[in-house]
Amino acid sequence: MIPLLGLLAGIVVGIVLEPSIPQVLQPYLPIAIVAAMDALFGAFRAYLEGTFTDRVFVVSFISNVLIAAAIVFVGDQIGVGSQLATAVVVVLGIRIFTNAAAIRRALFHA
């Protein structure tokens, strides 16, 4: 319940306050969001399986976002930024789909 409320509160805060992201960080925002979605789905699945832990979630979320952003950053420096961004999206996308399928099975038994 807390995460869901927090999520909604965050969306409201984002819309109301409209914090401006520094120009330098803007290219990494979409990647960070995909990594965040991956962490969220993973956490929800762990929650359904009864293994969810706050600390692991926090650590995995932060490290996911940082690593994804770092991969894209390094890619930008060596000229393959968009390709590496695609790679990150593909890998995280596969994980999101797999986790979503497991969540669906656990929730609806289908």
Binding site: G6, L7, V13, E18, P19, A36, L40, T51, R55, T98
Partner: protein, 258 residues
């Protein structure tokens, strides 16, 4: 493949299982979780806001650029009209300056004979119309597109077939006209063309088409039409009107030695 299998087999962070197996996790740090949830929500909102905010800006930038291009083109057309009227004025002044003695008469005949040939005067008469275009599958294979060299070969073939005047999509060719590609488009006289390419040539209606087809250029285009399925249509036209090349300028002038 092993990497992908690994991703599918283990989509959840393995640490969850490790910590749960240890079973000694105290309930604390709820506020960190809430804070993180707020941050994630804010991330979503900010990204969505930025994308929707950037869309109209990009659109207006684009239309602004299109506007500028259209303005520049209009200005260019106006300048061309002015150029034509000024050239007419020059011709009148030249005729007045030459007077009507014998030497001037000779000069005027030479000017009249040379003007249509070099592209400085509009010409009309019978000729051929050649329409060429990319093949229908051009999007799949870049080699199926008409290139600048194809149009160059076409124009040179027409000169070879004794064409007196040629224009491509309304741009008169002179001996100084460049046909080259710039980006995706072919330019003639540095103005880009749009497909299909209509090449008009004035010449002897009895021989022009036959000579062109027999020339190397005709063979080149036959090959393109058959092997690359490009559009290539030749037809005789009774009356063609080709404008003068507006790019003609006076580059060199000397005092008449008479």
């Amino acid at each position: 493949m092993d990497l992908l299998n690994q991703i599918i087999r283990q989509p959840v962070d393995p640490d969850y299982a490790v910590v749960a197996a240890r079973g000694d996790e105290p309930v604390r740090g709820r506020w960190v979780l809430a804070l993180l949830a707020v941050i994630i929500g804010a991330l979503f909102a900010v990204a969505a806001l930025q994308t929707t905010r950037a869309a109209p800006a990009l659109k207006s930038e684009r239309s602004e650029l299109i506007n500028r291009v259209q303005n520049a083109e209009r200005e260019q057309d106006e300048l061309r009209v002015r150029l034509t009227s000024l050239s007419g004025e020059i011709a009148t002044l030249r005729a007045a300056a030459l007077g009507d003695d014998d030497a001037s008469g000779v000069l005027e005949t030479r000017i009249e004979a040379l003007d249509p040939v070099v592209g400085n005067a509009p010409v009309s008469g019978p000729g051929v119309l050649i329409v060429v275009d990319d093949s229908p599958s051009a999007t799949a294979d870049a080699r199926d597109r008409v290139l600048d060299i194809d149009l160059q070969v076409l124009a040179n073939g027409l000169w070879q077939a004794d064409a007196e005047a040629i224009s491509i999509n309304g741009h008169r060719l002179s001996s100084l006209t460049a046909i080259r590609s710039a980006g995706d488009a072919i330019t003639v006289d540095f103005r880009s063309l749009t497909r299909p390419y209509r090449v008009e040539a004035i010449g002897d209606p009895r021989t022009l088409q036959a000579q062109f087809v027999e020339s190397p250029a005709g063979a080149w285009w036959n090959d393109l039409a058959q092997n690359r399925r490009m559009r290539y249509e030749i037809s005789d036209v009774k009356q063609l009107d080709l404008a003068a090349d507006p790019g003609m300028v006076l580059r060199h002038a000397g005092k008449a030695t008479s």
